[in-house]
């Protein structure tokens, strides 16, 4: 049996009285691939905001790792350094910088100002960047400014940055948006490969994409878990059918 890497229990958060997350409990092991689906406004992005420290919950616990650290006590950057990487729903890369610079910034290294100030490029670093660029299909774009990339390429660059951080848990918010079918297929491969050694949580609307991920699925609705299990299992669930049809 795999170890639990992250555990949320009884988490709630409300914005101006509106409960975006409602008594949510969730667990993921390492390694594991998990898909999260749910209608618009179900709280999928907010769920990731809570894990990464962007949003602080009103109540509940978020426990991380073997030492059972509470993530609620850590800052965003500490959470990232603890091993949680995130890809945002709207691709956010540093548009004014080159693809290489974007990847280099994400590369797992010391993060303190002084070690960054005196950082020297290494052979391993350069090789890692080349390998990542190869994996995300941006080898020819390394010296290009990220702002010039297509939407799909930006998505990939951000996935590359995520992998460069070498996190234990990857939170991937709608990675396939704006991608062609071929690109989507490539993305599923990438995520599945990443999940061989890590915990990966993928939020996605596209059922075909989720099907190809071939993993356990959690259905969110109105801020809580509506159903969990294999895709066949959850799509057969009457509540899930109601929610999706009732949209």
């Amino acid at each position: 049996m795999m170890n639990t890497l992250l555990e949320l229990s009884g988490v709630s958060v409300s914005f101006d009285g509106f409960k975006a997350i409602n008594n949510l409990s969730f667990q993921i092991g390492e390694p594991e691939l998990r898909a999260i689906i749910g209608p618009n406004g179900a709280g999928k992005t907010t769920f990731m905001d809570i894990i990464t420290g962007k949003t602080r919950p009103d109540e509940g616990r978020v426990i991380w790792g073997e030492k059972s650290v509470s993530l609620l006590k850590l800052s965003e950057s500490q959470i990232a350094r603890a091993g949680i990487g995130r890809k945002f729903q709207k691709p956010t890369v540093f548009e004014a910088q080159t693809v290489r610079e974007n990847l280099a910034m994400a590369l797992k290294n010391e993060r303190s100002p002084f070690s960054v100030l005196f950082y020297r490029k290494t052979k391993e670093g350069a090789e890692k960047i080349e390998a990542l660029a190869e994996e995300i299909g941006l080898t020819d774009e390394l010296t290009r400014v990220a702002g010039e990339l297509s939407h799909g390429q930006k998505q990939w660059l951000e996935i590359g940055m995520l992998l460069a951080q070498d996190p234990r848990l990857l939170l991937v918010d709608e990675p396939a948006a704006g991608m062609t079918p071929a690109e989507r297929e490539h993305t599923t491969d990438l995520l599945r490969r990443a999940a061989e050694t890590r915990a990966v949580v993928v939020v996605e609307h596209d059922m075909e994409f989720v099907r190809r991920l071939d993993c356990r699925v959690t259905v969110l609705h109105e801020g809580s878990v509506l159903a969990e299990g294999s895709l066949e299992h959850v799509t057969a669930n009457q509540d899930v059918i109601d929610v999706y049809l009732g949209r």
Binding site: T52, K54, S75, E76, S77, Q78, A80, R81, G85, R86, F88, T92, F94, E95, A96, Q97, E101, A104, M105, A106, R111, S112, P113, V116, L117, Y119, R120, K121, T122, K123, A126, M161, Q165
Partner: protein
């Protein structure tokens, strides 16, 4: 793989250093000190001061152009540097004068008597004859030089820590930095501030123990010191914004929360940049005021820091040479216009006096640059660079 030296990666640094060296040598050769005197001593001082302004502009470019913190308070650090060195200059020189005049008396004066007489000389104008506590080390050049760095550095560190920790950004941060400068200058305007209120510190051009050296030589020495400081500051800043540090800093400017989610502690980076640039500003100030001869609280007024932002914007932020060009161009032009150098324009019904209208012109140019050429003057160089590059590729 050995990393190419950062100078090799940034050839513009060499261009800048070469231009600065040529300029310095040329001006020196034309100076009164060299016996030619095409360039007057007072103009040497103006040029020396301009170099100091270029240095603070480079610092401003790092903090604003690269890191995205629109600080409207860096002239406060500049002024504090000036005050710190000014205290020693004034103390040491007054002491020499007092000792000389008292030595004529029959009974040689005791050190206390000299000390009291110096205090009376310096603080008579604000109605006291005792040294305030902050002058405790004014007799030590070493200590005052240390204060040039320590006082503004600590102020920036504490202010920055409080501001960045509470995640104050954007306009609110700018307002906060303005409030800091305003508070500091209002405090200094008071007679009991310990720094002679609105009289400020004066006679700073007279360097103690160098009374016999003519100003033409002293002006050249400061001119060279300013050029050297600018060169070192430029290289240091270019190093900071090159490589990974530059990448992170620009990342913070463009999307600070994204940088946070990559695991960088953004506040530490901002604090580092803010404090480093404050210290550079202070060093620039410490070199500026001995050439200006006088420092008073008006120098620290909030408007000075706003001008600094205008220079950098006109020169082109996000490129260090742009900041240098902006500061040199605008400040020299400003002294030409306000110093009566520019001829008035008679319109028949009205005569444009540039001393009055210069600020309007500056304001309009600022608006024009912001709207039409957001990259500033430095942006033109980029265009030329790109053009020659694309032509070279053909």
């Amino acid at each position: 793989m050995k990393r190419k030296s950062f100078v090799a990666e940034n050839p513009s640094i060499l261009w800048f250093l070469a231009a600065l060296a040529l300029f310095t040598i040329f001006v020196t050769a034309m100076s009164e000190a060299a016996g030619i005197g095409v360039v007057s001593t007072s103009f040497i001082k103006t040029l020396g001061k301009t170099l100091c302004l270029c240095l603070i502009a480079v610092a401003m470019d790092i903090v604003w152009g690269y890191c995205g913190i629109l600080s409207l308070g860096h002239f406060a650090f500049f002024g504090l540097g000036g005050y710190a060195i000014g205290m020693w200059l004034m103390y040491a020189r007054t002491e020499i004068i007092v000792t000389e005049s008292l030595s004529a008396a029959a009974i040689p004066p005791t050190p206390e008597e000299i000390h009291d007489a110096v205090a009376t000389q310096i603080f008579g104008v604000v109605g006291t004859n005792e040294f305030p506590l902050i002058w405790a080390f004014a007799d030590s050049l070493f200590m005052q030089l240390a204060f040039v760095i320590l006082v503004p550095g600590l102020l920036a560190l504490v202010f920055g820590w409080l501001a960045f920790r509470s995640r104050v950004t954007g306009v609110y941060l700018s307002i906060l930095t303005q409030a800091m400068t305003l508070a500091l200058s209002l405090y200094l305007f008071q007679n009991d501030s310990g720094l002679r209120g609105n009289n400020g510190l004066s006679g700073l051009q007279n360097i103690p123990y160098l009374g016999d050296v003519p100003q033409s030589m002293i002006s050249i020495a400061f001119f060279w010191a300013s050029a050297l400081a600018l060169a070192l500051g430029y290289v240091l800043c270019a190093y900071v914004v090159s490589g990974k540090m530059g990448s992170v800093i620009r990342g913070i400017r463009d999307n600070e929360s994204r940088v946070r989610f990559l695991g960088y502690h953004v506040e530490s980076y901002k604090l580092f940049v803010f404090t480093l640039t404050a210290v550079i500003a202070a060093i620039a100030g410490a070199l500026y005021y001995p050439q200006a001869g006088i420092i008073n609280p008006a120098e620290i007024a909030p408007i000075a820091s706003i001008y600094l932002a205008v220079w950098v914007a006109i020169g082109g932020r996000g490129r260090l040479y742009g900041a240098v060009i902006g500061a040199a161009f605008v400040s020299l032009l400003s002294s030409w216009f306000t110093g009566g150098g520019a001829p008035s324009i008679p319109l028949g019904f009205y005569t444009i006096q540039w001393t009055d209208w210069w600020l309007v012109l500056l304001g309009l140019s600022f608006v024009a640059v912001t709207l039409l050429a957001p990259q500033g003057i430095g942006g033109l160089f980029d265009l030329i660079g790109k053009k020659s590059k694309s032509e070279g590729a053909k």
